[in-house]
């Protein structure tokens, strides 16, 4: 569906640049007009970030955040995918576990912080645990749903060719569910990135989340607060774009061809 067909290349660049410039101008002049001394203008944010880059702090914070996400997310993948496939494969098992999952799911990963600190102390492990929790439930749920959504016709065809249950899972159900599972994994990665920043604001003393809270508490450096936020946005976007490349791999492309 499209209200304009044939938008040309020029427009594809023109409108975003125009809108972004307008946004920056608006920001700049509302800072000037309101006369705030605390909230930074775009220029101040840029200078603040440059300062951080020169001191080398920024580099370490970024690496710390990325490391925590990577470990926590990989852990969630390794545990969540097999469990999700298992529960999807045995609906009776799922019926037993589901109530627990449904109660645990609406609990903000941040609410686990006291528990995380109790188990792991203040530090890396606590933050990694939070990322793990944030990513784990969406991964399990998406695997269960994806397996349940595999059309009966595929299972029947597989059984008809004499496949045993393990083979049916490996050769029919898993590949059929894979595109939908990937969507879940991508969402879980996004959540992991949201959680690590939030977790770092409370549970550790490094990383981009800590940079935000630290910049505010030690001297109201709001230029650094906003700079760190923008950086978080850009890195999150890059992570998402990288993950999207997986969707073009041949054996799953069939599942994404309707979305451009």
């Amino acid at each position: 569906m499209n209200s304009l067909s044939g938008t040309n290349k020029l427009e594809r660049w023109l409108w975003p640049i125009l809108a972004t410039s307008l946004f920056l101008l608006l920001w700049r002049y509302s800072v000037t007009w309101s006369g705030t001394k605390v909230f930074p203008s775009p220029g101040e944010v840029e200078r603040g970030l440059a300062q951080l880059v020169q001191s080398g702090v920024l580099y370490h914070d970024i690496v710390d955040s990325l490391r925590r996400v990577a470990i926590g997310y990989l852990g969630a993948l390794c545990l969540g995918i097999p469990l999700g496939l298992l529960f999807g494969w045995y609906p009776s098992l799922n019926r037993i576990v589901n109530p627990v999952v449904q109660i645990l799911r609406p609990i903000s990963p941040i609410a686990w912080i006291p528990v995380a600190i109790l188990f792991f102390g203040v530090g890396d492990d606590a933050a990694i645990f939070l990322v793990f929790l944030g990513a784990f439930f969406p991964i399990v749920v998406s695997c269960v749903d994806s397996v349940a959504n595999v059309p009966l016709i595929y299972r029947r065809a597989g059984i008809n060719f004499g496949l045993t249950p393990p083979h049916l899972l490996a050769r029919v159900v898993f590949p059929a569910a894979l595109p939908q599972i990937l969507v879940g994994l991508r969402i879980a990665l996004g959540i992991g990135w949201l959680v690590v920043v939030a977790g770092e604001m409370i549970a550790v003393d490094s990383g981009l989340g800590f940079l935000i809270i630290d910049s505010r508490n030690s001297g109201k450096r709001y230029d650094l607060v906003v700079g760190a936020m923008l950086l978080i946005g850009v890195i999150g976007l890059i992570l998402d774009l990288l993950f999207r490349r997986l969707e073009t791999v041949k054996p799953v492309r069939w599942g994404f061809r309707n979305e451009s």
């Binding site: 065809a157 059984i159 008809n160 069939w254």
Partner: protein, 267 residues
């Protein structure tokens, strides 16, 4: 054919003197839906000879798919028995392959991968030989590496037929296989199915709701009544292949079935 060869019975059995491949004995099926019993099949008695081409014809919802699924072992009838080669059917089996409408092609495998799906026990070279043989039989050379979403409906249907043929089953169940195709492709596919059937002599059970399709293809047409489905009549089609679809005999048979179903010849 030795002891198992039996004389042709009046309506239930095959027209030629051949071994009985598949037999349903008083098969009935009652579904439970929202607490109510829904009878779908009643007293289906049918004998299908080895190598015979039988069409099940009937209005939508009369239970054709249900009967076919039961024959293939995906469903267990609530009454009666289904025997293949004298043994009661207890579940699906690679010796009898069910061909769904083209929706049954696996979208995550290439054409090659789909056709070779049931051949994982063979050696690599053996499998490649089989795949290319059936690829050629259904006329898909050059599309080995294509994915199903790059193919037309007719091509996908060919892939599914080739996938079934590749495991060399003795029975094939086809459930409205050409229902989703345009009328020209459908005609071509019918011709190809006949060609393949004459070359391989599988027993074929073919579900359709298209009277012309049934009369063009089948040795016998099993006409079913609306739900609960019963066998209303079995019509032997005594025209040799290739069939002339404007011959008086063809029209006579077709009109006979039309009348049987209760449809007039004028719109």
């Amino acid at each position: 054919m030795s002891a198992s060869t039996r004389p042709t019975s009046a309506t239930q059995g095959p027209t030629r003197n051949v071994r009985i491949k598949l037999r349903t004995e008083n098969v009935s099926m009652i579904f439970q839906r929202e607490g109510k019993a829904l009878p779908v099949l009643e007293d289906i008695d049918l004998e299908v000879g080895d190598g015979e081409f039988v069409c099940l014809l009937g209005p939508s919802g009369c239970g054709k798919s249900t009967l076919l699924s039961a024959m293939a072992g995906f469903l267990t009838p609530t009454g009666g028995k289904i025997r293949i080669d004298g043994e009661i059917v207890r579940g699906p089996d690679p010796r009898r392959i069910f061909v769904f409408q083209e929706r049954g092609v696996f979208p995550w495998l290439t054409v090659e991968g789909n056709i070779g799906f049931g051949l994982s026990k063979l050696s690599r070279s053996e499998r490649a030989k089989r795949v290319s043989y059936y690829l050629q039989m259904v006329g898909l050379e050059g599309f080995e590496k294509s994915y199903p979403h790059e193919l037309s409906g007719g091509m996908k249907q060919r892939v599914e037929v080739a996938r079934a043929l590749a495991v060399n089953p003795d029975v094939m169940f086809l459930d409205e296989p050409f229902g989703a195709l345009d009328s020209i492709t459908r005609l071509i596919m019918r011709g190809e199915l006949l060609r393949i059937w004459q070359a391989e002599r599988k027993t074929i059970l073919f579900v359709t709701h298209d009277i012309d399709e049934a009369v063009q293809l089948a040795d016998r047409v099993v006409v079913m009544s609306a739900r609960p489905g019963r066998i209303q009549q079995i019509v032997p089609i005594d025209i040799s292949h290739p069939r002339d679809i404007s011959s008086p005999r063809y029209l006579e048979l077709r009109d006979g079935i039309l009348g049987q179903i209760g449809l007039a010849h004028r719109l």
